[in-house]
Symmetry: C2
Subunit: 218 residues, 2 copies
């Protein structure tokens, strides 16, 4: 993996190439390739490493003993996962992490951050950037809470579609989920959700085809 690829990431913001290389060494970084569909971090385990998605995407999901799946978030290229658990290495993970496509993942053992603190170093910068990342992650988690808080199927769909629309600054956009994943993310039953999407299209509120959606204003 090339450090120029990393310089764009929030985690390495404001850092020189030398500092990034020092950081990669200091944090025992390690790149892995992971096949689509496989769960490579398991609920109940603990982890010392956070992950950066270099290529592909992963889903953060909970699978209970009755086979119900909940997708808490989708983490795309250039984004981070498990940083919370890596920072709190005693906490067992509540979720599974699954490769949504074939992936290239960079693992960083951020526990080494607190070792032998020398000021002005890359550690300080990483720390600041981690705080930013953690805060953004917080916003994302709250975001999902809002999409799942309406009690009706339509309410959740509208909450989700509106937020994506605002994110993309357009009434027309692609969503990153297929139907089953969208249902799992919004805690809905897939076929029922399809029904509702159909109704909404008939009523002229939305137009969609596959993953492409368009919101219609009255």
């Amino acid at each position: 993996m090339i450090s120029s690829e990393l310089q764009k990431l929030v985690l390495f913001r404001n850092m020189t190439e030398t500092e990034i290389l020092d950081a990669l060494r200091g944090l025992h970084s390690m790149e892995k390739h992971i096949k689509k569909g496989s769960i490579f971090l398991h609920a109940g385990d603990t982890t010392n490493a956070m992950g950066i998605v270099l290529e592909g995407s992963v889903t953060i999901e909970s699978n209970d003993m009755w086979g119900n799946k909940t997708i808490l978030s989708l983490v795309g290229a250039g984004q981070y996962f498990a940083e919370t658990y890596a920072l709190l290495p005693d906490e067992p993970m509540l979720v599974d992490v699954r490769a949504n496509e074939d992936c290239r993942i960079l693992f960083l053992y951020i526990g080494y951050l607190s070792e032998s603190w020398s000021s002005g170093s890359w550690k300080e910068k990483i720390l600041k950037n981690l705080l930013l990342i953690s805060s953004h992650k917080n916003l994302q988690l709250s975001g999902r809470s809002f999409h799942t808080s309406p009690k009706s199927c339509r309410g959740r769909l509208l909450s989700y579609l509106n937020s994506i629309s605002k994110q993309k600054h357009s009434l027309e956009f692609d969503i990153p989920f297929d139907r089953q994943q969208l249902a799992d993310y919004l805690n809905l039953e897939r076929t029922n959700m399809s029904k509702e999407l159909g109704k909404m299209q008939n009523e002229g509120i939305i137009i969609f085809r596959k993953n492409h959606f368009k919101l219609i204003q009255p």
Copy 2:
């Protein structure tokens, strides 16, 4: 407010009294008293200050235009709120913050953290502690996601009661919510939830009286 009261807080962990006082000055800290029931941070606004609950408790809630309320979390004495928004001061808040009882709140303008960074100072320690706090907040938010992901009333109640029981290391405990608040936290309808609690008591799964609950193992 006395700095000895603050030394126990995670935010000031590993800091001397002098450093804490420097930090309070540097972050333009300000103590306020707030009356029960009043909303003192409003969704849509931005904020530069994070809050520490010195006395009382606050709820983080979303109130939509149809009068539906969702309680995202309850923040008790010694805990923090709005740190995410204070760290990302351009993000409009998605939630209201309401005093759940009469409160003493300490506000800190943590934007001043990034000003004139001198290493080895209190700023570095605060930064590390903030990252811990943010990570814990992440866990809390995920936690609620799990309580609201079961589709059934009983599933959500059991998820919530079990997690409190584990937290308190006991099958018998008080919960911090009244019935309406619990329903708002679990995204349920109050009277329906009451019915379900009644059923569960009849079946001998739980015993409760007011806010005191006891889980019965088979």
